[in-house]
Point group: C2
Chain length 151, copies 2
DNA sequence: CTGTATAGTTGAGGCAATTCAACTAATGCC
DNA sequence: GGCATTAGTTGAATTGCCTCAACTATACAG
């Protein structure tokens, strides 16, 4: 486009190059994440469920189904799974007994902590980078809008 | 550890910070990738299958099953799916008719191209970064060992 | 107090992905 | 030529994830 700001083309190329490298790296390290779930004995959906539960506060089934963009019955199924693993339990909300608050059990909190810690642990190769590179990486990445975050 | 090289601690922290930011960003943009697969009408497994097929050369079922770390019968099932979508076909290898080479059809090449291009297209927010940040990102990321790459 | 809306569950069903065991077909070595 | 090996397929079964329709229980508005 003729009316584009100067430097826009260079930026697009730089963004493409950066994204491609990051994307490839994520793909290359995917097995690490699978291994974490295997070790914890949970499925991807359970891991997502676990990470959207706050260790302190409970959340209603409805709120969870909304976040997961799924049918309420699917949320029931998923929370049932967490319960059957002893990771969460339902508590009727005071004042409105229709709603069930899902809260993590002690085991659930422990597992969630383990999960988050493991996923947030940088892959080995990242440590091979120079300190300067890592700082540049952080500096740039910290300017990205991270819509959500674990723990 | 006392015997660690000086600066190791700082590096670990820098690596953690960088990885956490990148990881959160990947999670935050996951829906974009799902949308790409939806648009192309393929499942995650089909997308992986598609991307491990070379647009020029064929690959044996065996090689594919090895790469996917799955049972040969699972590879059969997956390649059947690609075939039923008109994306690939099997050709008996000259000289050893036991092995079937899986090759992309014209449609398969087109779809693979679309897939790779879409996945490699940087999310919008990345373009909001300053050119300098993007270049720093690329410079650092290019030092990572990317074990494999698409197209 | 009656009807409507909301929260959640249950049951049935379906597709995707995967494994295992049994099988067929082609190769290639004595 | 006979036999072990290798490539691939088929069929049965399982699991995970997900949707829809029907249902129960509670809350709330008029």
């Amino acid at each position: 486009m003729v009316t584009m700001a100067a430097g826009s083309k260079a930026k697009e190329e730089a963004a493409s190059a950066a994204w491609r490298l990051i994307f490839d790296y994520i793909v290359a390290t995917a097995a690490d994440r699978v291994a974490v779930l295997d070790r914890l004995g949970i499925t991807p959906a359970e891991s997502r469920a676990l990470s959207s539960l706050d260790p302190e506060a409970g959340r209603s089934m409805r709120a969870l189904a909304d976040e997961w963009r799924c049918d309420p019955s699917n949320a029931t199924w998923l929370v049932d799974r967490l319960e059957s693993h002893g990771l969460a339990r339902r508590v009727a909300r005071e004042g409105d007994r229709r709603v069930k608050e899902v809260v993590l059990t002690a085991k659930g909190k422990r597992m969630r902590g383990d999960l988050v810690k493991s996923l947030y642990t940088p892959p080995r190769d990242l440590l091979a980078l120079a300190l300067g590179d890592l700082e540049a990486l952080s500096a740039a990445a910290s300017k990205l809008p991270s819509r959500r975050t674990l723990a």
